[in-house]
């Protein structure tokens, strides 16, 4: 089972996204700020990180730079999630080291496609989705 670390400070977004990912066979680890996200990535070595960018304590850009600078976490794919939807926001996330970028509101099939492209193979169980 693939493990995804979700770094998200908004409780409803955490609840909603973690439940939907778990339904599709992913194990979801949770961190509520950027600093905790970095610490949990170092301790748990998840297969992929979903990183909200507007986070307390340490924002997603700084957390991603920190993860990509550390040898033990540099190879973990990071997908930036943000409610900012300008083209400059995408460029900023990629410059910080994110491997991909998606905007809120999440379109789950699109996000799952990005997750599967980065994790590769071993496609998890699918749940029918109307979105």
């Amino acid at each position: 089972m693939h493990r995804i670390l979700l770094v998200e400070d908004n409780e409803m977004n955490r609840d909603m996204l973690s439940r939907r990912l778990q339904k599709r066979g992913y194990e979801v680890l949770i961190a509520v700020d950027g600093q905790l996200g970095v610490e949990m990535a170092q301790a748990e070595s998840p297969d992929l990180i979903l990183m909200d960018m507007s986070l307390p304590v340490m924002d997603g850009w700084e957390a991603t730079r920190s993860l990509k600078a550390a040898p033990e976490t540099s190879s973990i794919p990071v997908i930036a999630l943000t409610a900012h939807a300008m083209s400059t926001d995408r460029e900023r996330a990629l410059e910080a080291g994110c491997d991909d970028y998606d905007t809120k509101p999440i379109e789950l099939p699109r996000l799952l496609g990005k997750i599967e492209a980065l994790i590769g193979g071993n496609r998890p169980v699918r749940v029918e989705n109307n979105s």
């Binding site: 409803m12 905007t103 509101p105 999440i106 789950l108 109307n130």
Partner: protein
């Protein structure tokens, strides 16, 4: 009517729409995410009676996102 000072004009034309777009996306994420989750759970449980109603909420939410994207994304 006199022209707005440049910093205010910049704020009205660029900063406000950007902030509004961001702030609207968070509650819209909740509306869309939970309506989609509800639809999934109703499908799984076979309790399909209310799916068309929740689908209307989801569709309205997606229309709002499309309107926001169309009106603000180039600002």
């Amino acid at each position: 009517m006199s022209e707005l000072p440049k910093p205010i004009e910049e704020h009205v034309q660029h900063t406000l729409p950007r902030k509004l777009l961001h702030d609207l996306r968070t509650p819209l994420s909740h509306i869309l995410g939970y309506s989609e989750l509800l639809i999934e759970e109703m499908q799984e449980s076979g309790n399909v009676e209310f799916i068309p109603h929740v689908e209307k909420i989801r569709k309205a939410g997606r229309e709002l996102v499309a309107m926001m994207t169309e009106n603000f994304s180039s600002k």
